[in-house]
């Protein structure tokens, strides 16, 4: 029976801390996204509009690794049984993508334009059955300076 109490306390702890962390992260994302909105960014290979002579072009990147909490891990295990959307992981990956893009923007605040934006996702601990899963998102692009 103690095993069960231990498990329940893990789930509750995972849920509480996971939710607190997620809410804080979203608040921070929204605030920083608003601040960075002015930066022109595109996934196109060519710059948007006429930039004139380009003085410098460099590779910029932003990466982030986020771990899933215990509660989400349990919900996902249950979800694996029935199938369907893994909602818990949707927010996880969404946060990771937006954080990676923000970090990329923050790495080149003076760039005139950021072009050729690409995102790579990889899961850490892949295939390690009982390990808590984490996701890594890497955003990379070319920053142009005029």
């Amino acid at each position: 029976m103690w095993d069960l109490y231990f498990l329940i306390s893990l789930i509750v702890t995972g849920y509480i801390f996971g939710q607190i962390h997620e809410r804080r992260h979203y608040a921070s994302l929204k605030k920083r996204e608003l601040e960075m909105m002015k930066m022109v960014m595109t996934s196109s290979k060519r710059p948007l509009g006429e930039l004139g002579p380009i003085m410098e072009a460099k590779l910029v990147q932003g990466g982030v690794v986020i771990s899933v909490d215990y509660f989400k891990r349990i919900v996902t295990s249950l979800r694996n049984f029935f199938g369907g959307n893994i909602r818990g992981y949707e927010t996880l990956v969404d946060r990771a993508r937006r954080e990676a893009i923000l970090r990329l923007k923050e790495s080149c605040p003076d760039a005139t334009q950021i072009i050729n934006l690409r995102l790579e996702t990889s899961s850490i601990y892949k295939g390690r059955g009982n390990q808590i899963g984490s996701v890594e998102v890497l955003a990379y692009a070319t920053a142009l300076y005029t």
Binding site: M1, D3, L4, L7, Y15, Y26, K30, E33, L34, M37, K38, M39, V40, T42, L48, G49, F71, K72, I74, V75, S77, L78, R79, N80, F81, F82, N85, R87, G88, E90, T91, D94, R98, N130
Partner: protein, 277 residues
């Protein structure tokens, strides 16, 4: 072409359903499925148990007794050995009244818990804490006879079979040893349902054995009366989780002995003295 700066849209990519709700509905669904399959397999186990002969049972669980004894560890006191010898004699007397089909080996273990159980392979385990709470030989004999009743009814195999099925099911369903503990309530619920009938059957057999051996059923309810006394704060919770409420059980035993026209007589004094631990 005009460039419009815009914030990421967080509505389409992320579900906003309450995760707790999702968790509870998934868990309820899984519990319902496991409960159903477990219930069905319970019937199969009851059938399968009939096909396991006593010889086969002993062959399968031969080493179990040694493991139980080894798990105890340490030296056994003379007092324990002497009480065990007495208890073996009592067990032999009681088995003379009802043929279980194979020899029962008694294992007397030192413990604070007041418990006795029928283990597969004809191993009857009696914990010494029990002796603290029965004051007569007849009281102890009823508990031993009750376990004999379980052996006769092969309840120990049914219980074990259900345990194995539940473990396998929960592991299959969740694919995770940690998560499989979420399904523990299924076990408790099913066991409670399953056990009540089994315990009553074993009580009935025990009454018959006691009547046969002593010629009366005095002391039969001693142990359970002791437990139902709210003044006594005894460590019984573990044993009686799957047993009918002690008080109701005492009444049931009394009713049964009335129906069978058994009478209560003088009880024999205990052959052990004081605390065994």
């Amino acid at each position: 072409m005009q460039y419009h700066a815009k914030l990421p849209d967080d509505t389409p990519n992320v579900s906003h359903q309450n995760p707790v709700k999702e968790f509870l509905s998934l868990l309820a669904g899984l519990l319902a499925i496991v409960l159903f399959v477990y219930w069905i397999l319970g019937f199969f186990i009851d059938e399968a148990v009939e096909f396991i002969s006593p010889e086969m049972e002993i062959a399968i669980f031969e080493s179990l007794g040694e493991e139980i004894i080894a798990s105890q560890g340490g030296e056994r006191s003379d007092k324990i050995n002497k009480t065990e010898q007495h208890m073996r004699v009592l067990l032999d007397d009681l088995t003379a009244c009802m043929d279980v089909g194979y020899p029962i080996e008694l294992i007397f273990q030192q413990s604070d818990k007041a418990n006795a159980f029928a283990a597969p392979g004809g191993k009857m385990v009696v914990l010494s804490g029990l002796l603290k709470h029965v004051k007569s030989e007849n009281g102890l004999a009823f508990v031993v006879a009750h376990e004999l009743g379980h052996f006769k009814n092969r309840d120990h195999l049914r219980g074990l079979g259900r345990g194995v099925v539940l473990m396998a099911l929960s592991f299959l369903a969740t694919g995770n040893m940690h998560l499989s503990k979420v399904l523990v309530p299924v076990n408790a619920f099913q066991n409670a349902q399953f056990s009540q009938g089994r315990e009553s059957d074993a009580d009935e057999r025990a009454l018959d054995i006691i009547q046969c051996h002593y010629g009366h059923v005095g002391g039969a309810t001693e142990f359970f009366s002791k437990i139902s006394d709210p003044e006594d704060d005894l460590p019984f919770t573990h044993y009686f989780k799957t047993h009918p409420e002690a008080e109701a059980r005492v009444k049931a035993i009394q009713l049964l002995s009335q129906e069978k026209h058994y009478v209560e007589g003088e009880v024999k004094p205990a052959f052990w003295s004081g605390t065994i631990n």
